[in-house]
């Protein structure tokens, strides 16, 4: 039902149940917000979106107040402006003012708001609630001095990821966002997914930066430094340089990597193709030999840590494949080291990932199939952009670069790994042809694309029958699938799970902000690249054929087992 109301003298018609905030947009009025985040939370806590509603004793928070029929609303009165300033000044009275050295400088909602509200002086000083800096995690850094208690991280962690590693502890002035019993974040069931760092409006949660370490390696003449970029990076990196979401910047990304001084520029997409060969073979073997089904993908380290903590009894369902960049790291220090005659000891592998969980992953003790640390450093897309800026590279006018052989070439199947459903689609393209020996004409499996939380499809495969698959993104959705497996309701053969909503395009290390519109645009960029590539099936890649001929032998062979596969660790919920 449509209702009509008046906002700043203009009449607007909105669907009943619309918030005042959304109704105001129709009146071309922008109401500032801080704790509100579409698709995540509307809790009316920051009191920045306050408006005056005729007949109401107090001001109302536009994000949580439903517009109602005949309401007369003012968004720009003296009372409203003073109230908004008061809330922001209160936050500033409790803020450390370290803007110049803050990782979120120039990308901080509080900073922007203080500017927009014209705050030139903070009239309040006094005791600061303070807090600690928690650097226990290899993935994220929490500086609680900067926390404004908007609770977006809490909500994303609890309601979207169903993890609840962070929650409000203490009360009132003492309230703080901390793991239970104020333990270190690394000592609780945190999956390192980094969604908290995406939604944090200030610099309270950021990724743990390894930029300086990487610069040091680059500048060390005794080191041979290799960089690799994940599929989703190329669909989002441009946003850090002012490009609209969904701009594909593969060529510039590769060129910039070379300009930064890396000795070799490989592409994680190469390893994504390899993953399909290994994982596809593993799936077919499980189906044929009556192995544990459904098999679940293992590319997303946030997801791996989730299942280790919350469903350790289901670990046998996981594919034993390492995630693609770990595969590439292991091959760089073995296959490529041999081929190029470089001492693997001097090699430093740097992965640019849309992900914070991969920072944890590369430090897992079992990730040393090469005899060395397979991947030395993981940088997020955001950190990579910072390096490019630090190096003074004119990203916009950069001519397209290219990757290096032998681990750069990739197919369309690899590049769509970055979008939810992409691994599944890539696997189906190869599995179908391997199992049937026939050519798959229509390579696009639209049923597994898009942003529905859980997607299901049934694919008839000659000789095997109907293959039932499911795709989940976001750990809350993954939990639903796992519960179905536990109760025996699920009859799938193969499941793809990505820890982050939207898959890697929405990863915890991606440019901020992220929302469904942006996720969809980034994914579309990858699907467009897929369409434009010569090869769209992983097993068709000449470089993949070559590495099996020259080095690996066959999928799931001895060398693969050693270098490309891993095992998992049951962990406790607490």
């Amino acid at each position: 039902m449509m209702i009509s109301l008046t906002i700043d003298g203009r009449t607007v018609e909105v669907e009943e149940g619309t918030s005042i905030l959304d109704a105001a947009k129709q009146a071309n009025v922008h109401i500032p917000t801080l704790c509100y985040l579409p698709e995540v939370q509307a809790i009316g806590a920051c009191r920045v979106c306050l408006v005056e509603v005729e007949g109401n004793r107090t001001l109302q928070a536009a994000c949580v107040s439903p517009a109602s029929k005949g309401q007369v609303i003012y968004t720009n009165t003296d009372r409203v402006r003073k109230a908004r300033r008061f809330s922001v000044e209160m936050l500033l009275s409790n803020h450390p003012f370290e803007c110049l050295t803050c990782a979120k400088n120039l990308n901080c909602d509080l900073q922007t708001l203080a500017y927009e509200l014209g705050i030139r002086e903070v009239h309040f000083t006094g005791e600061k609630s303070g807090g600690r800096i928690d650097e226990s995690s290899p993935s994220i850094r929490r500086d609680q001095n900067k926390c404004i208690l908007c609770r977006r991280c809490v909500t994303v962690c609890q309601e979207i990821q169903s993890v609840t590693a962070l929650y409000l502890q203490g009360r009132g002035f003492e309230a703080r966002v901390e793991p239970a019993f104020d333990r270190d974040i690394n000592d609780v069931a945190c999956t390192n997914c980094g969604q908290c760092s995406i939604v944090c409006p200030v610099g309270a949660i950021t990724e743990k930066e390894y930029i300086d370490e990487v610069w040091e390696a680059i500048h060390d003449p005794s080191k041979f430094v290799i960089i690799q970029d994940a599929p989703a990076v190329r669909a989002a990196l441009g946003e850090e340089f002012g490009y609209p979401p969904g701009t594909l910047v593969t060529g510039k990304m590769l060129a910039a990597a070379r300009m930064l001084g890396f000795d070799r520029v490989f592409d994680t997409n190469f390893a994504a193709d390899l993953t399909i060969l290994e994982e596809g073979t593993e799936l077919l073997t499980r189906v044929k030999t009556g192995g544990v089904l459904p098999m679940i993908t293992s590319c997303s380290p946030g997801w791996i840590k989730f299942i280790e903590h919350f469903y350790p009894e289901l670990l046998d369902h996981l594919s034993t494949c390492k995630s693609p960049h770990m595969m590439l790291g292991a091959l760089a220090k073995t296959y490529y080291a041999q081929k190029a005659g470089i001492d693997p000891k001097s090699m430093v592998v740097v992965s640019v990932m849309p992900c914070t969980a991969k920072k944890f992953e590369c430090n897992r003790p079992e990730m040393n199939g090469s005899g060395y640390k397979d991947v030395d450093y993981v940088l997020t897309t955001r950190e990579f952009a910072k390096m490019i800026k630090q190096a003074g590279i004119d990203f916009e006018n950069l001519a397209d670069g290219n990757y290096d052989d032998p681990m750069g070439e990739y197919t369309g199947a690899a590049t769509i790994f970055g979008a939810t459903g992409g691994v599944m689609e890539a696997a189906l393209r190869t599995a179908y042809e391997v199992a049937t020996g026939k050519t798959l004409e229509n390579v696009e499996f639209s049923a597994v694309r898009g942003l529905d939380g859980i997607k299901e499809a049934t694919v008839p495969v000659e000789g095997i029958g109907d293959v039932k698959v499911a795709v989940a993104h976001g750990l809350g959705n993954a939990r639903k699938l796992l519960d179905k497996i536990k109760t025996g309701e699920a009859s799938y053969h193969f499941i793809e799970v990505m820890a982050c909503p939207g898959g890697c395009v929405g990863g915890g290390g991606q440019p901020i902000p992220v929302n469904n519109e942006i996720r969809a645009l980034r994914a579309q960029a990858l699907y467009n690249e897929d369409c434009a590539l010569t090869y769209r099936k992983s097993h068709e890649s000449p470089s993949i054929k070559k590495i099996y001929e020259e080095f690996l032998g066959q999928p799931l062979g001895e060398r693969s087992h050693h270098l490309l596969h891993t095992h998992y660790t049951p962990r406790s919920k607490f």
Binding site: G44, A45, C46, R47, F86, S87, E127, G172
Partner: protein, 527 residues
């Protein structure tokens, strides 16, 4: 059956238990037995007699004589002198007897005693015995509701009675029930808010300790009216005796078939569950209470939606205060017209107050709505202690307002006090004599708000801290010109911007203290 010539009522409430009431009771029973009087003298437990801070209190009937500060060592003398020889023990007798009745003055101009409503049974019956409640017309109201009134009839009766919520917000109870009854949904809930957290308020505790069945009956009637079959009592975890007695009462009611399925063959089913709070002041706010009841952190919810449409687990829910619900059986049993015979036209009925501070007899009283502060202090509470002068009172708890001598003759009711920008709130009256330090009082009130702010919204979480900073400075004699104005300004914006009544409230004690004690407060600012 023995013919009992004397009843000894011993007040068993949280306060008297701390003072050793159980030991006194045991000593009395043993002494009566030793002196061979067991057959003719009965010792009975009852809830609070309405006297606090005077140790163990007992009343001897039929004389109606009060003894206070009784110890086990006094048992011998009491039994021998009073019960055997008929000579009251003067040294233990209370000088100021608590008024057991509502005093009316408004219509006749004369003080006149009337029966109590809410506290009718408190301090008289044994709260742990359902039969005593039934003997005092207990559960007659629900029976009347079943047989003479439809649910709509109950709501009409409640509306006609004009009962307003006694938790402080003073919303018309009948209206609230009406909204809930009309809200779509098969499952609805009744919640009794027994998370009594206003400083200085303990009326609900004494109602719960003294007459738990009255609350159960009130909840049943509410459930019948709105179509709820389940009630929850959200009660302060510290109220151990209340919880114990309420649970006993629920068990007895279930045993009697008064709670459960198809009550009295009416077709109506209802049950009550007790949930303990964990000591957060904000959980007295109805939506924070609901969050807590759902097992979540006690944070308020945005309104709308109101609990009557979306409350506990998203279902239509009535949240009523203990005192509100305790009025209900009396209204339904005696009718709205009878109820309107008490109090004022706009604000019928009585109000239970806890009166504390510098008065001669602090404690629990029930007075008609509209009774003046002067009568409450001087008629009920024995006036100012040690013959000192009245300086002011903090009425309504921390979220209440200060009143100066100018307010002594103001009629105390929800509606009238609004005209003075004051509130009745929870009904706590903290009386101060002329030695009281207003800045010190304000300081402790503001510290309370800071301590109890839940942390949900910015203005309250950080604003209360600013208020504390300023008042501490003033109290330390380091206040500067402009500090008081800042205190007012911050609390004013907090009223306008805070999420829930907690952050909206500090303006009340601040502005009211300035209204009555401006010179004193400004005198503390050195410039």
């Amino acid at each position: 059956m023995n013919l009992v010539r004397n009843h000894l009522l011993i007040s068993i409430d949280a306060g008297t238990i701390m003072a050793g009431a159980r030991a006194v009771e045991k000593a009395l029973v043993e002494e009566i037995d030793r002196q061979g009087l067991s057959g003719e003298i009965a010792v009975l437990e009852t809830g609070s007699i309405g006297v606090t801070g005077q140790g163990v209190v007992i009343v001897v009937y039929p004389e109606g004589l009060y003894y206070a500060n009784v110890t086990p060592q006094d048992a011998h003398e009491l039994v021998e002198e009073h019960l055997l020889k008929g000579r009251p023990v003067k040294r233990l007798m209370m000088t100021e007897m608590p008024k057991q009745h509502v005093i009316r003055k408004e219509r006749t101009g004369l003080l006149k005693e009337q029966p109590r409503i809410v506290l009718r049974n408190s301090g008289i019956i044994d709260p742990e015995n359902i039969d005593e409640y039934i003997a005092e017309s207990g559960y007659e109201a629900i029976e009347r509701a079943f047989t003479k009134l439809s649910p709509a009839g109950v709501i009409q009766e409640m509306k006609d009675s004009g009962l307003m919520g006694r938790g402080g917000a003073a919303f018309t109870t009948g209206m609230k029930w009406d909204f809930a009854s009309k809200a779509p949904g098969d499952v609805k809930y009744i919640i009794c808010n027994a998370d009594e957290g206003e400083p200085g308020t303990f009326k609900d505790r004494l109602i719960l300790e003294g007459d738990p069945h009255k609350l159960i009956e009130g909840m049943m009637i509410a459930g019948y009216a709105v179509g709820a079959t389940k009630g929850f009592v959200y009660i302060r975890g510290e109220y151990a005796l209340s919880i114990e007695r309420l649970e006993k009462a629920i068990a007895q009611a279930r045993q009697y078939g008064i709670l459960g399925d198809n009550i009295l063959e009416s077709g109506f089913s209802f049950d009550v569950e007790v949930m303990k709070g964990a000591g957060a002041y904000v959980c007295g706010e109805e939506t924070a209470l609901i969050e807590s009841l759902e097992g979540k952190r006690g944070h308020p919810r945005n309104k709308p939606p109101y609990p009557v449409t979306e409350g506990l687990w998203g279902k239509p829910t009535v949240v009523n205060n203990v005192e509100t619900l305790a009025n209900v059986p009396e209204i339904i049993r005696n009718g709205a017209a009878w109820y309107r015979g008490y109090g004022t036209d706009k604000c019928p009925g009585t109000k239970v107050y806890t009166i504390i501070g510098n008065v001669a007899t602090p404690g629990l009283i029930e007075a008609e709505m509209g009774t003046t502060l002067r009568d409450i202090i001087y008629e009920y509470a024995g006036g100012i202690k040690d013959g000192k002068k009245f300086k002011g009172a903090l009425v309504g708890g921390a979220a209440g307002a200060f009143m100066g001598p100018e307010m002594l003759d103001a009629q105390m009711d929800f509606v009238n006090l609004r005209e003075y920008a004051a509130v009745l709130g929870s009904g706590a009256i903290l009386v101060m004599d002329d030695s009281a330090d207003i800045v010190g009082m304000l300081k402790s009130v503001l510290h309370f708000f800071k301590h109890e702010s839940c942390g949900h919204c910015v203005p309250c979480r950080l604003g209360t801290s600013q208020l504390v900073k300023i008042i501490d400075k003033i109290a330390d004699g380091k206040g500067k010109n402009g500090d008081i104005e800042k205190l007012v300004k911050v609390s004013e914006v907090m009223r306008d911007t805070s999420f829930c009544p907690l952050g909206q409230s500090p303006i009340l004690p601040i502005s009211s203290s300035l209204k009555f004690f401006k010179d004193e407060i400004f005198g503390r600012v050195t410039g």
